[in-house]
């Protein structure tokens, strides 16, 4: 921001390039280690992991082949459009021939860096994003030509200002009341504005034909992930963490290839169902995780605990914007005219969303219905309500959801944590006790 006294004053103070590179490369090596470790842990829990998962393991490496691919494409002239939060309409980015990458940060150490700029009370995902900006840690963010930031929460609103110091940032204003006619008008205008910006950046006009094929691509991706989710309804033939990894890699992978590999994985899993080749015992307590995002690689803390503790639990479904919610809702187009497609894209990102940053005339009953339906369909034994300290939106919805689930006699546990490795011991105690409780309940349930 320019002031009349000092010229351009940035929020992040200048750091000597040598220091930046030191910190960055040490964080990169930590990150590589964590990625490798997490994958090892998943393999250990599930020795008989399908071969197809190797593809997702490779994509999960931020500093690996996918980065090379994106670099090569950028050199060949393609534009990279990054986005924070799943509200950015990726169909528009794909239609213009650009590459969408989500840059919500999952690095713990970066959050500590971010503490220097903003107070500790701020959401750790935001602090981590600031930290990655400080030391250029996120390779995809570094390669991007523009960042779309939908201002869904206070943290993101201010993050956009901080990133704006060094990057091209396009903000979008999602309405807080998601389904009033006025807010739909606002959001459609926002989508159209971003469409224009993307067209200007890439120099490609987003024609009806291009948009149609982009929408059809995301519809097929939705089809693939729904297939995987159907499979998880039965006995556990895939462990929760692996499914979460499949979900998350779609955030930065080439969607077409990702979709093909997911279908392959589903084929393999369906074979395993016939052979009754379960990933863990069918009477393992079935856990649903709901709440704030759990982003690879560092924030795998809770899923690791759930699936490695004694007694073991298996995550069968989650309500996370970094997990099962990512591609679940399709863009439903009625007439393939430009205005209808834009309407459909706009609706898909607001109306279908269960994020607590929204409210509607009837409160956030969408989320409640979603949770209740999942509990029934996936035969969930217990719910872990996961909140990163600082997220008021998720924290405040807990009261109502707890009372509803209490009435249905479904155990729910509020787990709040931070971007830190230090509280693993405390989290372990809680997760283990919760799983013990579930095991007892499962044992006490009357046999059908």
């Amino acid at each position: 921001m320019a002031t009349k006294f000092e010229g351009n004053v940035k929020a992040i103070p200048e750091m000597p390039p040598k220091e930046i590179e030191e910190i960055r490369s040490s964080m990169e090596s930590v990150s590589r280690k964590v990625i490798a470790e997490n994958i090892e842990r998943m393999k250990k829990t599930w020795p008989n992991r399908p071969k197809t998962m190797q593809y997702f393991d490779e994509i999960s490496n931020f500093f690996g082949q996918r980065l090379e691919d994106i670099r090569a494409q950028k050199e060949a002239g393609k534009k990279i459009v990054a986005y924070s939060c799943m509200f950015a309409p990726i169909e528009l980015i794909l239609a213009a021939g650009a590459i969408p990458v989500r840059i919500d940060s999952g690095w713990y150490d970066a959050a500590k860096l971010g503490d220097k700029i903003v107070p500790v009370e701020v959401c750790p995902v935001i602090r981590s994003a600031i930290g990655t900006q400080m030391v250029n840690l996120s390779p995809y963010l570094e390669l991007s030509d523009a960042v779309i930031i939908p201002l869904t929460c206070d943290g993101r609103t201010k993050l956009s200002e901080i990133l704006r110091d060094d990057r091209t940032v396009w903000t979008m204003c999602p309405p807080r009341i998601k389904d009033s006619p006025e807010s739909r008008k606002l959001w459609v205008e926002e989508v159209k504005a971003v469409k224009k910006k993307i067209e200007d950046l890439t120099g490609t006009e987003i024609t009806g034909k291009r948009l149609r094929s982009a929408i059809e691509l995301t519809q097929k991706a939705t089809k693939a992930i729904r297939r995987l989710q159907e499979i998880r309804k039965g006995n556990p033939v895939i462990m929760g963490r692996d499914a979460m990894l499949v979900n998350q890699t779609s955030m930065w992978d080439d969607l077409k290839k990702w979709m093909q590999k997911t279908e392959e994985l589903c084929d393999e899993l369906e074979n395993r169902i016939e052979q009754k080749n379960w990933a863990c015992s069918p009477d393992t307590p079935r856990v649903m995780v709901t709440g704030t995002p759990m982003i690879w690689p560092d924030n795998w803390k809770i899923p690791n605990l759930i699936e490695e503790s004694n007694p073991q639990g298996v995550i069968v479904v989650d309500e996370l914007c970094s997990g099962d919610r990512l591609l679940y809702d399709p863009v439903g187009v009625d007439e393939w005219t430009m205005s209808d497609m834009i309407d459909a894209v706009a609706d898909r990102y607001t109306l279908a969303s269960t994020c607590p940053c929204f409210t509607s005339e009837h409160g956030n009953e969408d989320r409640i219905n979603w949770l209740l339906d999942r509990i029934k369909e996936y035969r969930v034994d217990g719910v872990i309500y996961y909140v990163l300290r600082g997220c008021i939106l998720y924290a405040m919805e807990y009261a109502r959801i707890k009372r509803i689930l209490d009435r249905m006699n479904v155990p729910i546990y509020y787990l709040d944590t931070e971007y830190t490795r230090e509280d693993v011991g405390q989290m372990k105690t809680r997760v283990e006790a919760f799983l013990e409780m579930l095991e007892t309940r499962v044992a006490l349930k009357p046999v059908n």
Binding site: K220, K223, D329, P330, G332, D343, A352, N369, D373
Partner: protein, 402 residues
């Protein structure tokens, strides 16, 4: 004898083709988001020859092929069977119109307006050239009875699947789509206002009908020229039909195709907006033009204000009728994620399906086209229930994508 067999053969062929078509669509259309739409379009098209069956087979005993008629009862199927008790044709709640020749059914609006007066007398009808065997009151009772029963059983299913004017609306939509133009939406307030307008129109034409018949009913001429046999009397006996868009559509189409003699159609036309013609007035044609333009901009434009639709909803929406009505839409609350697709794809912009939490979500403005059920991407969320039993659910249509 051979003629009767020939007629029956023609009917059998038509029925066979329709049946085969339905089967073909059910089996071969794989895209779940289009299946019901294609089926509906097919049945709408198939309904047209059925409604205008007289142009193909004619009344019993009389060969009408190729038919050229001019009076509304020319080639009217069923005249011989129903005889003098119902020579105007059965009232089915479709905007099928009284005026074109060769129909099987008649628009109940015409019948209600004309049977209102003088309903106490029998004998040769006034200006309609027919001998009625039953009193006006009996005729009214039969019309209302038929409409009520059909409204209860099928409700606005007629609107979505059989009404030929509905087909016209849908063809306008397809025409607009071929030019890749988008559609417009009315604001919710205006839409709801139009819904209320339907009942106002019904009330208005009933009152007008009465006003124009005061001479015959109470012996007092409220409007000059409404004496029996007078110009106004003869032609304003059915006031709504002078502004109905279906009349010019069906009459002009039949004239163009040679089923009605154009010269006699237009010779009875005074051409003045303020004076009625027998078949087509300028007022009719203007309304048709407006509705057509409206239908190109707003989907199913006429259906939002159609008074016949309003009539059906009266007998379908309020409690005693609601509980026994045949075709209804149901929603399962937990499955709905409020994604809003149903609200967006709905041609007459019905919002109840989206807004109601669960259970019965049938709305009086809904034409039961089931586009919402087709496009809902969540398994088992919306259901079509016939007589309380679900016969079709929304499904994950993504599975049909290649």
């Amino acid at each position: 004898m051979t003629e009767i067999i020939a007629e029956m053969l023609r009917v059998a062929i038509i029925a066979g083709v329709i049946f085969a078509g339905i089967l073909a669509i059910l089996i071969w259309v794989k895209d779940q988001t289009k299946k019901i739409s294609y089926l509906r379009l097919f049945i709408q098209i198939a309904a047209v020859p059925v409604i205008f069956l007289g142009l193909i087979i004619g009344p019993f005993g009389l060969s009408q092929f190729p038919p050229v008629g001019n009076a509304p009862r020319d080639a009217l199927v069923g005249t011989e069977i129903l005889g003098a008790s119902f020579p105007d044709g059965l009232s089915v709640p479709l905007l099928a119109c009284y005026y074109p020749s060769g129909r099987t059914v008649t628009c109940p609006i015409w019948q209600i307006q004309t049977y209102i007066f003088p309903f106490w007398s029998t004998g040769l009808g006034f200006g309609w050239g027919v001998y009625y065997a039953n009193t006006g009151l009996e005729r009214l009772a039969i019309v209302f009875g038929l409409v009520i029963v059909m409204s209860i059983v099928l409700g606005r299913f007629f609107c979505g699947w059989i009404c030929p004017f509905g087909l016209y609306m849908d063809l306008m939509i397809r025409l607009r789509k071929t030019f890749k133009k988008g559609y417009w939406k009315l604001s919710e307030r205006v839409n709801i206002g139009l819904r209320q307008l339907r009942y106002v129109i019904i009330a208005a034409f009933l009152i007008l009908s009465f006003v124009f018949g005061t001479q015959a009913i109470i012996g007092l001429q409220l409007v000059p020229g409404t004496q029996s046999g007078e110009y106004v009397y003869d032609y304003y006996s059915a006031p709504f039909c002078q502004i109905c868009p279906m009349k010019p559509l069906s009459v002009l189409t039949e004239s163009a195709l040679g089923f009605m003699d154009p010269t006699s159609v237009f010779s009875q036309n005074t051409g003045l907006l303020s004076e009625a013609g027998y078949y087509v007035t300028s007022l009719n044609v203007s309304v048709l033009a407006l509705v057509t333009i409206g239908a190109l901009a707003f989907r199913r434009f006429w259906c939002r204000i159609c008074p016949l639709g309003g009539l059906i909803s009266i007998f379908n929406r309020f409690p005693p009728f609601k509980w026994v009505s045949g075709v209804r839409l149901n929603k399962i609350e937990e499955k709905c994620t409020k994604c809003g697709i149903c609200k967006r794809v709905c041609p007459p912009q019905v919002t109840e399906v989206y807004e109601e939490k669960g259970g019965d979500v049938t709305s009086p403005a809904c034409i039961l086209c089931f586009r919402c059920v087709e496009m809902c991407p969540y398994e088992d969320c919306l259901e079509i229930r016939v007589a309380g039993k679900p016969i079709y659910n929304s499904r994950n249509w993504l599975e049909g994508l290649k």
